[in-house]
Symmetry: C2
Subunit: 232 residues, 2 copies
DNA sequence: ACAAAAGTGTTATCCATACACCCATGT
DNA sequence: ACATGGGTGTATGGATAACACTTTTGT
């Protein structure tokens, strides 16, 4: 039973349609992504990968992702605040068990909005810093590459960052989150001038206190919608 | 045999994976897209749609598109000079015959590079101005909307226009092609200053003559690669 | 000579960039 | 008093935007 006899040559119309989801969050100055332990001997033994699963006959790909995020990624249904299609991966050998085409999605979650259980790491499910990711199952390293590229481009050219940070944030929070995701330094004074002129954030009136330095004004995004706009 | 008994409720893993392709070209001041006559009674009788077909078990989605472009869209294999994945459409009822998920691609073709047969319109295959498109089969109107959006954004922010125009072109050709695709006027002098400074096109040394007005210098794109750069 | 499209320059405004010091709080 | 991060302004150069006339050809 060690051969790949699932990889059939029969001219059936096939196929197995799956979906995988890259869930991003941000905590403690690190961009995180949700990983699940994959155990499918003989091909994958105790290797990490993205949550995924088959799309059911009566589900859209997006519907399947919503279900998988809940059932497999261990998130409450209401937690998924931003989800978009990333890319469809159809390499013939991407799954050694047989032909599986995967529609990958990516989602963004605000860490402070997560419940305690959703933040917990264990042997089956964890939030991993993208800096610490090694070999993943299937073609998930390739997915991660595509996903990170897309996330970076969206962080620079849209308000998607609003889905990754706390509802209320200081300008420094916003700046450093963007710096870490984009992997480059942003000039503090120019960033503040620009973001304030764009009319996408507003002061809450409150300040962040108790941090052994001058209290910082808190801001929030005016709209919950992700709009395309050059942020930096 | 008039009911939709292909739309099964069986909990099979399913599925049928298909691909559809939006082939764009540009001729006579119009953005064109390739349509094929679809005849699948009782659902579709003599209605236009995009060329498409099933992905075979041993094909990637991109491979299937390359085949369909040749077999169904009537293009020589070498003609397809630019192809990229657009979006995967997985609405449950997008195909009334049953569950079919389609990975849509879009391609760009330079009209003068096409052979005569490839440009011909008949009752089964035609190039249609996107201004004259009415109801299409399946969810192809939605695909067209997504495709046009993507094409517009790429025309503004990449050199993809190089795949839609003749290899040698005047600055006015380039400008009007972009104007028509983007559906807005561009200032002639500012456009010329910008495009020339970007170092993406060069003079060929020749001029376009015989047009009852002053001959215009011809240019070509320096690189065949589509790069991301703000063109206008 | 006329029509038609090619080609060209200047100015004003806005935006991007570079850069360093004082302020308000906690300890 | 000191350490920490918050907050602010200006000057320069480059890009953008608005705008109209002359040139070269075909007829």
């Amino acid at each position: 039973m060690k051969n790949n006899n699932n990889k059939q040559n029969k001219p059936v119309k096939f196929a197995v349609l799956a979906t995988d989801v890259l869930l991003f969050s941000f905590y403690d100055n690190e961009l995180l992504v949700k990983l699940i332990k994959i155990n499918r001997p003989p091909y994958f033994k105790n290797i990490w990968g993205f949550p995924g699963g088959l799309v059911k006959p009566k589900e859209t790909a997006e519907g399947a992702v919503a279900r998988i995020v809940f059932e497999k990624a261990g998130l409450a249904k209401k937690s998924l605040i931003h989800l978009e299609q990333l890319y469809t991966f159809s390499d013939i050998d991407r799954d050694p068990r047989g032909r599986v085409v995967s529609v990958a999605y990516f989602g963004c979650l605000s860490w402070p909005d997560l419940q305690k259980i959703e933040k917990t790491n264990n042997s089956e499910l964890k939030w991993s810093s993208i800096k610490k990711i090694d070999k993943l199952a299937y073609d998930h390293n390739q997915m991660l590459k595509v996903g990170l590229e897309r996330l970076k481009s969206k962080v620079a050219y849209s308000t998607i960052i609003s889905k990754l940070i706390a509802r209320e944030f200081t300008l420094t929070d916003l700046e450093t989150t963007m710096e870490i995701i984009l992997e480059r330094k942003i000039d503090k004074r120019n960033f503040r001038k620009k973001i304030l002129k764009l009319n996408v954030i507003q002061e809450t009136g409150d300040k962040k206190i108790g941090f052994k330095s001058r209290p910082a004004k808190l801001y929030r995004f005016i709209s919950h919608k992700v709009i395309n706009i050059e942020l930096i």
